[in-house]
């Protein structure tokens, strides 16, 4: 699988990046070189291997008995105390707005949203 100019443009679009012509050329070269190296994962037979999304799957309650833990129970240990006991106070409005690049004091202001 070779990455093409078209792929770079498509992926940049998905990632909300513009990239200069020079950056696109670098990207094309680098992505191909990295993905060529990554291709060695194909040497491994993994049809019967379960994917691992995160380490936390491996501990918590009944960590050695996956059958006991179904669905969201597996993450029971992870429920935030402040959610269990009622919500904590959220960030005050003025504090939340302090870093805003553009605001009318109440809302974040942005350029025109509807472009047609």
């Amino acid at each position: 699988m070779k990455v093409t100019d078209k792929d770079v443009a498509y992926v940049a679009d998905l990632a909300n990046l513009e990239l200069t012509g020079e950056e696109r050329a670098h990207m094309l070269r680098d992505l191909n070189s990295i993905l060529e190296y990554v291709a060695r994962l194909g040497e491994l037979e993994t049809d019967k291997v379960a994917p691992m999304a995160q380490v936390s799957d491996r501990y918590g309650k009944d960590k050695d008995n996956d059958e006991l833990r179904q669905g969201s129970e597996r993450f029971a240990y992870a429920i935030r105390d402040d959610v269990k006991d009622g919500l904590r106070k959220s960030l005050p409005h003025d504090v939340a707005m302090k870093n805003a690049p553009d605001t009318d004091g109440t809302f974040f202001e942005v350029p025109k949203v509807i472009e047609r």
Partner: protein, 475 residues
């Protein structure tokens, strides 16, 4: 002043009025102003906050009240951890003027324990890099040889301890970013177990791989800092409900009879001969201390880097989507919203960050998800099983931290793949979530430090620190 002290001296010396927290902080700032222009470890100093905290400690001491564990200890924080009212940039232009409204839990716990936060430390942009040359502000120079990199991404954290500008620092480790710079700068760096230390307030890079951990000159000091920052935090749902032992007390346990695994996969092609000799010498020393050295195999190690760079970049592409110029950070001027997003991200992110967002977006995109992301997640299972098998036979695994000592600034900047391979011995611990430590174990012929890396079972930092401490004392 701090060069002649260790963290456990500080509290006693302040309590006995031989020194004060204020004098220590001022001394550190004098040293930073003198040494740091050539090193570049600090991005922001927070003198007012530091002196206020030092004043509180000195008032306690003057009143003869008991001092907290880390009273007056001058520390500094990698600039990927948010600090209330103190600029936090993640080494990126996109957060150049970002003043966080809250504190990272690890920082808050250190301050509650009496530590004095001097400032924020330089790093690769969003912790993406292995040399700190990807900082949008300036590269960091290795205090041991200023023509060389300090490692990365927590290069500022390692350099600040090595140059004695702070007694301990916090870093983050997603693929080796604490252990590799610790090795390059000749200090101790620990990546705890996934879930051991809260990540609330850590600017996210790859959420299933990111860890917060300490740097210091000695294992005991690292143990003291870990004890303070470890443990469940209701603000981070991935922090584990697992009791925190007294790591300092555990240091003195006997190491005789502990089984030390040595995996041939960590001593293969690409390993520098002097690094190999130093690490083998360190393992020999562990044997002399009464440990039993046992060969183990971690057969999927060669697949760790490709697995890591797919998982890490996929997660990064999602985590960095939040930088859109709307709520905080840099915003480019544009006529429409979509132009604003693009121009903000184009102008705010550096090349390596863009490269990783592109790679991660590609790996997650329709048609490639199964081939790259799902495949990498499956190989992650295999890599983790390698450790599960090995830890049935041994208590710790010993390896080099890095294949080479510190390389020259500029040497690898134009070859991303070569830079990624600097992490070849460290990324496995992040994928499996096991704890890892780098301890100095010698120097090469150019006096460049070499690091011994030790891994242990999930949540067994106590054994890791104990054996690292025994080794350190035997040198």
């Amino acid at each position: 002043m701090i060069d002649a002290m260790t963290i456990d001296d500080v509290r006693t010396k302040i309590a006995e009025r031989q020194t004060s927290a204020t004098a220590l902080a001022r001394d550190c700032y004098t040293r930073i102003r003198k040494e740091d222009p050539e090193i570049g470890a600090f991005l922001t100093l927070c003198e007012e906050r530091a002196l206020a905290q030092a004043g509180r400690i000195d008032a306690l001491a003057a009143a003869g009240k008991p001092l907290p564990l880390l009273a007056g200890v001058p520390i500094a924080i990698k600039d990927v951890m948010v600090t209330s009212g103190v600029r936090t940039t993640a080494g990126s232009k996109i957060l150049e003027n970002f003043i966080p409204p809250y504190d990272c839990t690890a920082v808050a716990r250190l301050e509650t324990a009496g530590a004095v936060v001097l400032g924020k430390l330089n790093c690769d942009e969003f912790a993406m890099g292995s040399s700190t040359e990807n900082s949008a502000y300036r590269p960091v120079h290795n205090p041991r040889d200023k023509s060389r990199v300090p490692g990365g991404s927590s290069g500022g954290s390692a350099a600040a301890v090595a140059a004695e500008m702070a007694m301990a620092t916090l870093g983050s480790d997603t693929g080796g970013s604490i252990r590799q710079p610790a090795s390059f700068c000749g200090v101790v760096g620990l990546k705890p177990t996934y879930g051991r230390v809260s990540r609330y307030g850590l600017i996210a890079f790859a959420s299933s791989l990111d860890h917060v951990g300490p740097f210091a000159k000695t294992v005991k000091e690292v143990a003291l800092v870990l004890r303070t920052i470890a443990g469940r935090d209701p603000m981070d749902s991935t922090s584990a409900e697992v009791p925190v032992p007294d790591y300092v007390a555990e240091l003195e346990k006997p190491v005789k009879g502990l089984k030390v695994g040595m995996a041939k996969e960590y001593f293969g092609a690409g390993l520098d001969a002097e690094v190999r000799a130093a690490v083998e010498g360190a393992i020999q020393k562990l044997a002399e201390l009464g440990c039993e050295v046992v060969p183990v195999s971690l057969p999927h190690t060669e697949y760790a880097i490709p697995t890591y760079y797919i998982v890490a970049t996929a997660e990064a592409s999602a985590n960095l989507a939040r930088y859109d110029g709307v709520r905080y950070g840099f915003r480019a001027k544009a006529n429409t919203l979509s132009e604003m997003y693009r121009q903000t991200r184009d102008g705010g992110f550096g090349m390596e960050v863009k490269r990783r967002i592109m790679l991660g977006t590609y790996a997650l995109s329709a048609g490639y998800y199964d081939a790259y992301y799902l495949k990498a997640q499956k190989v992650r299972t295999l890599l983790t099983r390698d450790f599960d098998e090995a830890f049935k036979k041994v208590d710790v695994i010993a390896a080099p931290t890095c294949p080479t000592p510190a390389f020259k600034l500029g040497e690898k900047v134009n070859d991303p793949l070569a830079m990624y391979l600097a992490d070849i011995y460290t990324v496995t611990a992040n994928l499996a979530g096991i704890p890892g430590i780098s301890v100095p174990c010698g120097e090469n012929h150019e006096k460049l430090p070499i690091g011994l890396q030790l891994f242990a079972r999930h949540f067994d930092e106590a054994t890791l620190l104990c054996i690292a401490h025994a080794y350190e004392r035997s040198r």
